[in-house]
């Protein structure tokens, strides 16, 4: 059984990635924070007895399922919203939080490189959001979470062949979009290695 300290360390290690991955999937930061919190609580409550080695797979599975639940609820809510034609919210009137605008400092010294990297990342982020959900899921688990094909297939509930296909299509789609923006494969690989 994992200790509370081990759980804390594990969550500290994955929380930022989990948040970003969820944002790419649901495109709403508030919803993403709720989803990540739900996933953390489910892991702590339902799998408290599991060893810490099993946490990465369990957490990813919980996170993906929580995202799916969110989409299901969203679908039903959208249906009702359409039926009842409710009024839209005016986001312009919302209070701005100064904390929202403060970013953690970037350690890179070269401003040109910094700019190129941030532009590239912005393009990848947009492209990732446009990917079909299964391709995005496979890409995130396989390359970002650094899981092998078997683990990814286990979490996604599909065959290893499907994982390979999804990953390949995802990388091709992202590379094509980046090439359209004038960013070749070599540039991406170099930037990725530097970061």
């Amino acid at each position: 059984m994992a200790s509370s300290q081990e759980l804390s360390d594990f969550l500290r290690n994955v929380e930022r990635r989990a948040f970003k991955q969820t944002v790419y999937a649901v495109r709403d930061e508030h919803a993403a924070l709720d989803i990540v919190q739900d996933a953390m609580l489910k892991l702590a409550e339902k799998y408290a007895a599991k060893p810490v080695e099993e946490y990465p797979m369990l957490f990813q599975r919980i996170l993906q399922n929580t995202m799916r639940d969110f989409w299901r609820r969203q679908k039903v809510r959208n249906l009702w919203t359409t039926l009842l034609s409710s009024f839209g919210t005016n986001e312009d009137g919302e209070d701005r939080d100064p904390l929202e605008t403060i970013d953690v400092e970037d350690n890179s010294d070269n401003p040109v490189e910094q700019l190129q990297r941030s532009q590239t990342i912005a393009i990848i982020e947009k492209a990732l959001q446009k990917l079909p959900p299964r391709q995005r899921e496979a890409f995130v688990l396989r390359y970002w979470e650094d899981m092998d094909v078997a683990e990814t297939a286990d979490i996604m509930g599909c065959s290893q062949g499907s994982v390979k296909t999804h990953c390949s299509r995802a990388v091709h789609a992202l590379a094509q979009l980046l090439e359209k923006q004038g960013l070749g494969t070599r540039v991406i690989v170099n930037l990725g290695v530097e970061s």
Binding site: M1, S8, V36, G192
Partner: protein, 134 residues
């Protein structure tokens, strides 16, 4: 042989590209706003607290009360199963009790020297009482 090599090279290239993109995304994930980081920290603390409560066998309810996680009140399914079993036992006992009563009355009627029609006759009981008084 050559197509297999090409395929392997292509696969390696895909993996390298994928990892490079993921690495860039990962660097971006480290630059979250303070508000987001605070919220993630709160979520983490809450999860760790729940984990610690589970490990100690106690849980804090939403209203702040401390309960043992093995207590009956935490398991509504077990509670409803218990109530159902109790109702079943009471029902069976009552059924058996009444059926036994019926059996006794049937045995009395059959074992009596008087014919069963005598007990149906409304005038029989007053006549019998008058006879006993005499």
């Amino acid at each position: 042989m050559k197509p297999i090599q090409d395929n392997t090279e292509q696969l390696q290239s895909e993996v390298a590209q994928g990892k490079a993109m993921a690495s860039l995304l990962d660097s971006q994930a480290q630059k979250l706003s303070m508000r987001t980081l605070k919220r993630l920290e709160e979520s983490r603390m809450l999860a760790v607290q729940r984990h610690a409560n589970k490990a100690s066998g106690y849980d804090v309810n939403q209203n702040g009360t401390l309960t043992h996680w093995l207590s009956w009140s935490q398991h509504p399914r077990l509670m409803s199963m218990g109530v159902l079993c109790a109702a079943l036992i009471v029902g069976l006992t009552l059924t058996q009790h009444y059926s036994q009563q019926n059996e006794f009355s049937d045995a009395f009627l059959l074992g009596s020297e008087l014919p069963p029609e005598a007990f149906v006759d409304r005038g029989f009981e007053p006549w019998l009482n008058a006879k006993v008084e005499l």
